[in-house]
């Protein structure tokens, strides 16, 4: 969503303020933050966009591998060992890897356990997987092919693994086909109940509007109706104990008459194959290439995505048959990408996970429920967005009074884990932050942990003032211990940590 000025005025409640002030408003990003050179180096910028938060280890790695080496390493997640996640799944949440029937069976026993595993698993992988870029891309496709798990906790867990995670860096066409035959999507958009006599147009509409062509991608209402008829009979054999359970083409309810779809004649007498043909048309359509390219560039470059890059990525889509890895590589190595620093606003889960990543292995979670409730309080519980368009992608959707306060309170609460002030976990502050003699060193050391670099002078002086009540000076031990948590909280809550 690009904001015009009038929208912005309404949103920020600035209508009554002077024109002079309003004329200074920038529409995205923040000048102050972008000007902080120590925090927006090439390496940090790349890590901001390819990880859920730059940890000290990430910074060391990109220094060793170089920019291109690091990006290519991350673009091949299947080559990156991920022992912590493997252990998490194997030891704690094995149902994340269960097949449908097995998962359905344990879910009948304990619905809440599956629901919790889905949400916490999403969160944990983002925080602790070595395959950071992959987890970012997974998030993108979960939004793109959004299915909330309210009523579909089993189906969505399977969809997450077999549709999204399996194809996240593969071919777009394969993901589209997998999604179209996924129980979760078939139920969610009512395709499972679409019959020749009463075709349900819900999926047919959304697959064009949201998954492939885009709303102005050149289809008509007649195309929606035709595609709905073409897909009649695409349903689910719905018995949790049935070994045949899953996607199923039901010829009994299929519309076998002729149709015209996107200008092409579909002759009478064809069954599932005409649906496959229609999806193939969508998967290879130039509008799909342009639409997917725009969304990827918006997510990974800027809220207001540069058109020249979109055009090149769309061409890449067409040249490679929708190869997502190839498109991602093009984006991440582009000049436009390198120029767009601190122009994306962290969504709530990103904000939370990036705090955990700053803590690294110096933090132990005691109570994972805490994370789940926090995502809810901040308005981004995983798999909870109702409409099929996925959680909003741009800053304007996420910046609001109440969520900002919730963020700040989380940012202040988490460093207090050093004394177990809250029960979510424990932070070993002494090994996380190197010992500091002076207030200035304290601010710098915490800043390096949280932001990966030094604060600009004016804000550094603010924080030093917070610590000493005045100028920089040597700190007593008690002073340092007394202030370090709040300094860290202030940095988590600073504008520098909200943008990436």
């Amino acid at each position: 969503m690009t904001l015009n000025r009038r929208d912005f005025m309404k949103m920020s409640g600035l209508t009554a303020l002077s024109i002079g002030l309003a004329s200074r408003i920038q529409w995205s990003g923040t000048r102050t933050v972008q000007a902080a050179q120590s925090l927006t180096s090439d390496h940090l910028h790349i890590l901001h966009r390819t990880t859920w938060g730059a940890s000290a280890q990430d910074i060391q790695r990109i220094q060793e591998m170089g920019i291109e080496g690091y990006i290519d390493w991350q673009l091949n997640p299947e080559m990156i060992p991920d022992p912590r996640i493997d252990a998490f799944v194997a030891d704690e949440y094995p149902r994340l890897n269960y097949g449908f029937r097995e998962l359905a069976a344990v879910t009948q026993e304990d619905y809440g356990a599956t629901y919790f595993a889905a949400i916490y698993g999403r969160f944990y992988r983002a925080a602790y997987s070595e395959r950071q870029l992959y987890e970012m891309v997974v998030e993108f496709w979960n939004d793109h092919f959004n299915v909330p798990n309210h009523d579909l906790v089993v189906e969505k867990m399977i969809d997450d693994r077999e549709v999204i995670r399996r194809h996240a860096l593969g071919k777009f066409r394969n993901m589209l086909f997998a999604s179209a035959q996924s129980r979760a999507m078939l139920y969610y958009l009512d395709q499972a109940w679409s019959y020749a006599e009463h075709p349900n147009e819900n999926y047919a509409r959304e697959v064009m509007e949201l998954h492939t062509l885009g709303v102005s991608g050149g289809y008509t209402e007649d195309d929606v109706k035709a595609l709905a008829r073409i897909l009649t009979g695409w349903t689910v054999r719905n018995d949790w104990n049935d070994s045949e359970s899953g996607f199923y083409f039901d010829g009994e309810v299929h519309d076998w008459d002729e149709k015209v779809f996107l200008g092409r004649s579909f002759p009478a007498g064809r069954g599932i194959e005409e649906g496959l043909e229609a999806l193939d048309m969508l998967a290879t359509h130039p509008s799909t290439a342009a639409y997917i390219a725009r969304k990827l560039v918006r997510r990974f470059v800027a809220d207001d995505p540069p058109q020249a890059l979109i055009d090149r990525v769309a061409q890449n889509f067409q040249d490679t048959g929708g190869d997502i890895r190839s498109m991602m590589r093009m984006i991440l190595l582009s000049d436009e990408f390198m120029a767009a620093r601190m122009q994306r606003f962290k969504r709530p889960i990103h904000f939370m996970v990036s705090i955990l990543r700053a803590f690294g292995d110096k933090f132990v979670t005691y109570d994972p429920n805490w994370w789940v409730w926090s995502t809810e309080a901040l308005g981004q519980m995983p798999y909870a967005w109702g409409p099929p368009n996925g959680y909003p992608d741009v800053s304007a959707a996420w910046i609001s009074t109440s969520t900002l306060l919730e963020r700040w309170n989380l940012g202040f609460a988490m460093p207090m884990a050093v004394e177990d002030w809250w029960e979510g976990g424990h932070l070993d502050m002494d090994t996380l932050v190197p010992h500091a003699q002076t207030a200035g060193e304290l601010v710098d050391n915490v800043s390096k942990v949280v932001l990966g670099g030094d604060l600009p002078q004016d804000d550094r002086a603010q924080l030093i003032g917070f610590v000493t009540g005045g100028d920089d000076r040597v700190l007593e031990d008690w002073e340092r211990a007394d202030k370090i948590q709040a300094v860290m909280g202030l940095l988590f809550n600073s504008p520098y940590f909200q943008w990436y």
Binding site: L3, D7, F8, K10, M11, S12, G13, L14, T15, A16, L17, L21, R24, I25, Q26, W27, S28, G29, T30, R31, T32, P148, D151, N202, E206, E209, L210, V215, F345, E376, A377, G379, G386, P387, P388, N389, S395, A396, I399, S400, T401, S402, T403, L404, L405, W408, N409, F412, D459, Q462, L463, G465, F466, A486, G489, L490, N493, S494, P495, Q498
Partner: protein, 421 residues
């Protein structure tokens, strides 16, 4: 003691000095909320939208007892008896409909002409999915799964009256209701006394001041910084509000429930004149598939909470009610037939209430009857689109005629359900 506007201004000033230095807000504080317009002079009502989540059984809420066998034969264990003057029967309204006895507190409001009942109302989309039906209703576009803005947000976008208060649109609770989602910034508020910055008490003032400076809230240059400023305004105002114990007026007693607490806090915000235009309040638990009960039981308890809460709100705000309109809705009604578990399954037509300034005091129903042939696949038919009721409120009470943008692709029928201001 009631907090007066004057009292609030004083405490707000004091709090600002104790908390963040007032000098941080030169552009903001004087302009904020304390609009010179007194309540009586405003051009529009405050709207309070109550959403009953789960699908309320409208047929046991406002009982069409005069339907006789069409109602009683189909609900052998849960029907509400015809009015007989006792506490174990419906409370007659007009010789055809009667209130569930747990709604007794609302009878007084009805008798005062401040409660309007709309029956056989609802959202026309046939879905029986709670989630879809709620989304459709709150987005204001039945059947549309793409639009991501809510009808109330579109109202705030299109209304001529623009108000810079951070309290302009408030969702009571933790999650932003879909009706409020969209480009106009709304806030969620769980508790007036809990809306404050965390951290150690002894550090709070300096933490706040440091954050405020890092966000340059005195000269904001982007959306984030301007919203950060709003957080501080909100914190200061709510601190001032919660500094004085709130005592409801006229002896009103709110039920001890989340719903009662939410209504009480909305009343507090309205009286404080902080610029509230719209508040959304949820009340859940209406999905009564099993052991719903009749005169007593599960649903009776839900209705008791609803009725006591609304009546307390009315009593508390009696002097303000000419400028407040409350409307209630639920995503769908329930089947006419009781099910095998002595409950009811998802249905269609339902009851809406309108209370306060917009009320005409009537019982409005283009009643389709419960005769078997009149039912919509076993359910009460919807003869009044809920958007008709909301459109009249928007036009007559909120001064916003742009219903074509608030409810796109729909032309409302104005039935004269709502009173002019």
């Amino acid at each position: 003691m009631n907090i007066s506007r004057r009292g609030l201004l004083k405490t707000a000033g004091a709090a600002a000095i104790v908390g963040v230095s007032q000098s941080l807000f030169p552009a903001w504080m004087p302009k904020l909320v304390f609009s010179p317009k007194a309540h009586a002079q405003t051009s529009h009502d405050v709207l309070v939208a109550i959403f009953q989540r789960g699908g309320m059984d409208g047929l046991n809420t406002v009982v069409p007892y005069a339907e006789g066998a069409n109602y009683y034969d189909r609900r052998p264990t849960i029907a509400i008896p015809e009015p007989d003057g006792s506490e174990r029967a419906a409370i007659d309204l007009n010789g055809f409909f009667g209130l569930h006895p747990s709604l007794l507190p609302l009878k007084e409001v009805y008798d005062a002409g401040a409660l309007t009942v709309i029956h056989a109302a609802g959202s026309p989309d046939p879905t029986r999915s709670h989630f879809d039906a709620m989304e459709f209703m709150e987005k204001g576009i039945p059947g549309d799964k793409v639009t991501s803005t809510g009808w109330i947000n579109r109202h705030l976008q299109t209304t001529a009256f623009q108000n810079e208060s951070p309290f302009r649109a408030v969702g009571m609770g933790t999650m932003m209701p879909s009706a409020l989602r969209g480009p106009v910034s709304a806030m969620t508020l769980k508790s007036i006394s809990d809306f404050h910055l965390g951290g150690r008490d002894d550090q709070l003032a300096s933490i706040q001041a440091t954050i405020a400076r890092m966000y340059r809230i005195d000269v904001p240059t982007n959306l984030l910084e301007s919203q950060a400023g709003k957080v501080f305004q909100t914190v200061d105002i709510l601190r001032a509000l919660s500094a004085v114990e709130y005592v409801p007026a006229n002896g009103a007693v709110y039920p001890d429930s989340d719903f009662g607490m939410a209504l009480r806090q909305v009343a507090q915000l309205i009286k404080a004149g902080v610029g509230l235009e719209v508040a959304c309040i949820d009340i859940g638990g209406w999905d009564t598939h099993e052991y719903q009960g009749g005169v007593e039981g599960e649903m009776a308890g839900l209705l008791s909470n609803l009725g006591q809460g609304m009546a307390a709100f009315y009593t508390d705000l009696r002097d303000f009610m000419g400028n407040v309109t409350v409307v209630s809705m639920s995503e769908f009604g329930r089947r006419v037939d009781e099910n095998a578990s002595q409950g009811t399954d998802h249905g269609h037509g339902n009851v809406m209430f309108v209370m306060g300034g917009g009320s005409t005091g009537q019982i409005y129903a283009d009643w389709p009857t419960l005769a078997p042939e009149a039912l919509d696949d076993g359910d009460l038919e919807i003869t009044t689109d809920y958007r008709d009721v909301l459109s009249e409120i928007l036009i007559k009470r909120l001064g916003n005629p742009a219903v074509d943008q608030i409810f796109p692709r729909y032309t409302p029928n104005l039935h004269g359900i709502i009173a002019d201001r």
